[in-house]
Amino acid sequence: MADTNVEDTPPADDGHPVLRITGLNKSFGPVHVLHDVDFALRRGEVMALVGDNGAGKSTLIKCVAGIHPVDTGRIEFEGREVRVTGPRDAAALGIEVVYQDLALADNLDIVQNMFLGRERRRGIVLDEHSMEEAARETLARLSVRTVKSVRQQVASLSGGQRQTVAIAKAALWESKVVILDEPTAALGVQQTRQVLDLVRRLADTGHAVGLISHNLNDVFEVADRVTALYLGRVAAEVRTADVTTSQVVELITAGRSGDLGLAPHTAAENI
């Protein structure tokens, strides 16, 4: 039952995962939410994390980000076991999480937002020039061209542009792992395109990217692999090239699909 790891046949091993989580369990008091979860993010790859509402996606991400302490389980970063006890630990390792609410200050401009809380300074003065340069350089590296000026106030940006800024902010910090929580929710088709492109480029520039999404078309478009959570367990980790959307939906709603997924008796007698 614990041996639900379908990923026993090693995938064409493109190096060790940057982040690897094994056997993670998490309860909130009596409420058990994650059970023996294995999850891995690899350099240059987008890993989609899918699951029904309440399957444990956000909890898993918050465990990775150090917001929730884990009950049991092992977190390895670049092959070494690490302890993540707070958001600062995660940031120090180079794990950045972009949440749905983005946490941007509307009244500040793009540069100010990207450096919020980690401003560069010279003596006691803010080093505006260096920050502006770094921001512009990061945006250019990610081929973000939709923003007219880095000195634009965030309030004047569209939803897609805000998402872009938030993602770029995460990429600014020498981060190795970037995890995005539903970055395309509430965006139009056009803007979704931009953000997905950005997600792909993030991986192509050498980051390990985790993507939480409800939209399977987006997932299939941009992700290399999918981890499907079903009631707090990993139903399967598969390559997007090997499965269809219907199979992933079955993994999400029933925990199994054909040969994939959980053993029958845990998946409610195979119905």
Binding site: A185, L187, Q191, S246, V249, A254
Partner: protein
Amino acid sequence: MSVTTPLLELRGVDKSFGSMKVLRDVAFSAYPGEVTALVGDNGAGKTTLVKCIGGIHPYDSGEYLFEGRPVRLGSPRDAAALGIEVVHQDLALCENLDIVQNLFLGRERRRGLVLDEATMEELAAKTLSGLSIRTMGSVRQRISTLSGGQRQTVAIARAVLWDSRLVVLDEPAAALGVAQTQQVLELVRRLADQGLAVVLISHNMNDVFAVSDRIAALYLGRMVAQVRTADVTHTNVVELITSGRSGDLGLPR
């Protein structure tokens, strides 16, 4: 039952905000005596659609039929005049007033200059007990003393009191405990069983399956399917929500 005409029918509704297209060619129907669940991912356009139904947003093009007759809504007042009541998530109740006062807010009964408190109180009690609402001590309780579920109940009862014919509920069970959620769900069901057309927006598939007669799924601003709940499975609905198609249903391949 399928021969009954829908109370509300939208055809080919488009809606854009500036250059952003939010609804595309949406068809939607709500039938009297039925609960129609409106499901979709965040940003699929549920809220916009509800606002179009409620007359808050004008739609760009498309047809709006009420009882089979085309109507044009200019404002929420027009919708209210047709008997369309939208219960938003924030409920819009005055916490400093009591249940009766909230139920009659803006449409107070009066005798001459004076408020007719006794009649309002009687009608309020009658409406609430007609909905088998059994969880409140007194109709003279202030809203500030009520729980979230009870507030939701008051907001819904207001729709009934005003003889609404179509009630749209935006996530009525969000942020409620399970006992309260169950009560609200049963209330939603009772509304429909009394002959109202009910549109329920919900993220919770159990809630959707527990009370709905039809499910309308939005995917990226398109209505990909409107099906009878009896004919679909949980997996079908999740697939429609997450990828816009499921088997024969939804977007063409």
